[in-house]
Symmetry: C2
Subunit: 501 residues, 2 copies
């Protein structure tokens, strides 16, 4: 839809008789047109005077709606040149307001809303990718929590609560419980070739807090961070709200692949997923690892290595971590127990260079006022008693089978027509959709059938130019439900892309 | 000490024979001189050329030390005018480096350290107030966790782990578990006159995360926030790292007391403790509450109400919350279970105006990727079954007795010479020390005797001009240990302030 036909489109949809204020209807319709890309990024919207005239409504109403959209980050206005759809509009299907559906509760008054959120707050909300659904086929990134050894966990819980230790119930000293840091240092050394002392390990509540801490300690507002393109949407919000500018760097089959132009402007930080790129799944080559480390050393940048899902590989053995190759103390390694045990546990960790260990521990206590030491003590014992590695082994076998079941179901329905990539590791794979097809519409159609998948394009910096595909998480789906759920998903694909039906 | 005698002072203390590099000795001595206020804020330090000459060391060494101190926020340098001690130097005794003590591990090389922390990171570390000690007499702000009803808690834990519910083990939808939000809405309405629906309650990990979320959603870098002077040091770090400028506002016996000059410059936010001022303990008068609310309404500021320790009052009944008086949706109410149950639990909450509820829930999920729903389910049931209110009742009686035991011990030793204030509520009281006495030295002397108290001056924006006193937490000290521990503290006071011996 070109902007010039916008007023017709709006006029057909505005409904004076449905009891909703015109202000609110117009606001939602414009949001919808922008989120659905019907009003593409960069396009100009009509002047408030013109639009008010063509719709036969007050100019003040239009002005207020435009101001609200500016605050929310949907459009930006340049004095004297007009109002334009923002370049990076919010890019997730979840949370798209439905102009037709009646609202569950009254909308805040325009005046109140206009002064409500700060610029960074409005941008955060407009770009939020988080989903209300966190369980069910085919939720990516969620492990099968029903297989967690609950009895062992309860036994440990009862043991620690039977004899109360006050030091485990009060605030944590910075960095977390010593026994957990020791257990982790051992585990990471043997399984991931991470070289560190226990003091270099900082316990956090997960990757979000780990990245938040690293970014706040190591960068200032306006600093540039390289992110892989595509990358995990959740971390983008954490980076932006701390004032960082992210520069999306393309990936190829060897991982992050900075161009000469990129290399000419060294960033302050880079955030990479060497073990298997998120979400596409390729492993960063050794040559690329060496290049990155040398570049970081020469240009004094920090590398944040997100070793996401490295425990789950179904074919070849993983390469050692980037941290293990680092000889100049420039890699911050982050990991979590969210995918190996259960997400709700909220325990993650950083491994920081020795020179930074004390600052990170202090800052963590100062900023987050940590606790949960009793849970950390349980986890340390869980690891020391061998339950952690045996649980991972068990789940690796199970997930490998589920992955194969999913691949079989896909091949049975589509043959080679919709190839899957990135399935050598992790808890999801990516099914490619035909070029030019709208993966967001497919995901929305699947959600209507109670199937959660995520559109691949939403992980790219410019969703409009991104490849089309679906992230399909198989880990939390019981074996016997995989094929039926895939068929339901396929019905949604076929209904949305009729050329495949 | 004037800056002009600095080189003599340094020359006496630098020790070429002790095996520590001169760079490091000089760095620590200067830090010490600044932290101890011997080099007062704003004073000029000698040029690197002059200091190098007078100490007979290399000028490069001095230059590097100055650069390091700039990065750490101790001094700032103005081109052409020289180098000056920063206005707001780090103000906590904890973490003051000891120039004499040998370091536990090797210091990072100057080059590495120089590029290590960002400006905001260095400032955070330099100003960090967090203590390594979190348990023992007289730790302020820590409840008696040994009285927590561990059996009830274990029973609830076992109940939820016996029949695994996957939705409680995965990520949380924004805002937290519905049952806990319902239980809290009921509790806050009856006990604190907070008026809200469950949807207006956002579960967090505590006051730090609550304030972080509010500040990021409602303000932008450079915005001004009013803080009470004195106030809780921990929140100051959270505010600063998000780019806020805090304007300290004096308090009187009616609570925060903005001057005409303050009122002429409306802030974006204000952070207040109306129930009992932290750490001094006065209750904000009704007139002051009405004035604040009206001022906020007229100037469209947000008020963050920290209802800290409101459950523990030993005399009169508390006034209703500020939130309950707010008719225009400008108050963000924050509270936590850290003091009523146990700090390590890490569950707190915000109550936000209706118009902001959805944005706060989304932002919380997006920024922090919450979990711990099983623990939230346990807590909701703990509240619903009445254990929460009965535990508070029990602890209020216990803490009231301990408070009296402490007051008796103080009166027995000092009579009226060192009066205590702020003891009508909460878990600590403030013992006033004579004007001009150094409460930081007293606290350090107490710590040598294994007694933790906090110097009152550290809670003020300008510790050098602040009243002298000690925060003494009595809640976590067993009854029979209070008098002996106070006598040990008194020995430290007498040794430091001989006029009282």
């Amino acid at each position: 839809m070109r902007a010039s036909v916008l007023s017709d489109w709006l006029a057909q949809r505005l409904d004076r008789g449905n009891g909703q204020p015109i202000y609110r209807q117009l606001h939602r319709l414009l949001q919808q047109a922008i989120l659905s890309r019907e009003l593409p990024p960069g396009s100009k919207v009509p002047s408030s005077r013109l639009l008010a005239q063509e719709l036969g409504i007050g100019r003040n109403t239009v002005t207020q709606v435009y101001e609200q959209l500016v605050l929310e980050g949907y459009v930006s206005s340049a004095t004297g040149r007009g109002t334009f759809v923002a370049d990076s509009a919010p890019d997730e299907i979840v949370g798209v307001p439905d102009a037709e559906a009646p609202a569950a509760r009254p909308e805040p008054a325009p005046l109140q809303a206009r002064r409500a959120l700060s610029t960074r707050g409005a941008r955060l909300i407009a770009g939020a990718g988080v989903s209300k659904r966190q369980w069910g086929a085919f939720m990516p990134g969620v492990p099968d929590v029903t297989k967690f050894p609950a009895r062992v966990w309860s036994r440990l819980h009862n043991k620690y609560w039977r004899r109360l230790r006050p030091d485990l119930l009060t605030y944590a000293p910075g960095g977390g419980l010593a026994s957990l840091r020791h257990a982790l240092a051992d585990y990471l050394r043997t399984s991931r070739s991470v070289r560190c002392t226990p003091e270099q390990i900082i316990i956090t509540t997960g990757i979000h807090q780990s990245v938040d801490l690293a970014v706040r300690l190591l960068s200032d507002p306006g600093d540039v961070i390289w992110t892989e393109d595509p990358c995990y949407w959740g971390v983008r919000s954490v980076l932006h709200v701390s004032g960082l500018k992210s520069r999306p760097i393309a990936v190829d089959e060897e991982g992050i692949n900075p161009s000469a132009d990129d290399l000419a402007q060294p960033p302050k930080l880079m955030l990479v997923t060497p073990s298997h790129q998120y979400p596409l799944g390729m492993v960063m080559s050794l040559a690329r690892r060496r290049m990155l480390l040398e570049y970081a050393r020469q240009n004094q940048c920090w590398i944040i290595e997100d070793d996401y899902d490295s425990e789950y590989r179904y074919g070849s053995r993983p390469l050692a971590s980037l941290q293990g190759l680092d000889t100049s103390g420039q890699v911050i390694y982050v990991g979590s127990f969210g995918k190996t045990l259960f997400p709700g546990l909220r325990i993650g960790y950083l491994v920081v260079p020795e020179a930074l260990a004390e600052s990170f521990a202090t800052a963590s206590a100062e900023l987050y006022r940590e606790g949960q030491l009793l849970q950390q003590a349980m986890l340390a014992e869980f690891i020391a008693e061998g339950h952690f590695t045996s649980h991972i082994r068990k789940m690796r076998t199970l997930y490998g089978q589920r992955r194969q079941t999913l691949l079989d179901a896909a091949a049975h329905r589509y043959g080679d027509a919709l190839p899957a990539v990135g399935g050598d590791a992790g808890l999801h794979l990516v099914m490619q959709l035909p070029d030019g097809s709208d993966d967001r519409r497919v995901a929305a159609a699947a959600l209507e059938r109670n199937i959660v998948v995520r559109p691949l394009s939403g992980y790219y910096a410019q969703p409009g130019l991104a490849p089309s595909g679906l992230l399909i998480g198989y880990a939390c789906v019981p074996d016997e439900e995989i094929a039926p759920a895939f068929n339901t998903l396929a019905d949604a694909i076929d209904a949305t892309l009729p050329e495949f039906a």
